[in-house]
Symmetry: C2
Subunit: 145 residues, 2 copies
DNA sequence: CCCTTTCCTGCAATTTCGGTTGGAATGCTG
DNA sequence: CAGCATTCCAACCGAAATTGCAGGAAAGGG
């Protein structure tokens, strides 16, 4: 149960974009330099973010990417779902999953669906704006202990 | 971000064992028959559960596995951690991870650690006993919405 | 002694991960 | 218009993990 590097890099990429505001474009080259991620790999990561409508692009010299809306209107869930597709812990729960033949007597599907809900609730409750203001020191957490 | 089949099968295996109580032993052969999982694969799954002290075994004819303690004293988290080792969403948060060089200026580590806590809290809050009494129909959830 | 079962090791096919490579299209700028 | 920076597109690729299966050895009950 791990999130991929694409998930992690996507968050870091979006934080960089958010730091520039939605007007200024930022090239992958500069993100590559500041974050230490190869430009070519970033291309793969930004593509689904673009298709999901979270960022827009301009080509050519002085081109780059920018947020399509303020960072306060984008959640971590938006970003992760753009990369992962469905954010489900097991294939059974995917939106286009075939119906499991032992579904009716399954004792664990409820557990997994509960986990999905807990994860959804968490990632949708944290905005890109909040991410930007987080430092490593102050560990986060809405209101858990 | 998916949990492996071993994680899922481990839960189902443990539910089967719990249904027999901690006295009666149950062979992998019978679990294989009722759950439709190959006996050989189950062997791989039960081994870490045994090493983690969640089940004990007896060899030979009439042998099998049984819980080492009541199902009310075993959580889903216990089972998943036995299979997965650390239950962390990204390698950075593993207990024996090397320190990330960009840790101090990282804006996302807090997010991931929060996710880890949310997951931990959920899986540790559901006991094997609760799993046994779950049906597919009644979706779970302690008190979320 | 035979049968059942756990235990242990090794192998193998497939998929996923984590990228790299190569180039085409587009648009600014001198 | 030439050149350069950038996004876009599509393959490819090695390594690792996933998802098992096979073949036994060891132990215990009947």
């Amino acid at each position: 149960m791990k999130f991929s590097t694409k998930d992690r890099y996507a968050l870091r990429l979006m934080v960089e974009l958010a730091n520039r505001g939605p007007e200024e474009t930022l090239s992958l080259k500069s993100v590559s330099d500041s974050q230490g991620i190869s430009q070519k790999y970033l291309e793969q990561i930004v593509t689904p973010l673009s298709r999901a409508g979270l960022v827009s692009s301009s080509r050519g010299s002085q081109g780059g990417y920018r947020l399509t809306r303020p960072a306060s209107g984008i959640t971590a869930g938006d970003i992760l779902r753009a990369i992962e597709g469905d954010l489900v812990p097991i294939p059974c729960l995917a939106s286009q999953a075939e119906v499991c033949p032992r579904r009716s007597q399954c004792h664990t599907i409820g557990f997994w669906d509960g986990l999905r809900q807990v994860i959804d609730q968490y990632v949708d409750g944290i905005t890109l704006e909040q991410l930007c203001s987080m430092k490593a020191e102050d560990l986060p957490l809405p209101d858990l202990e």
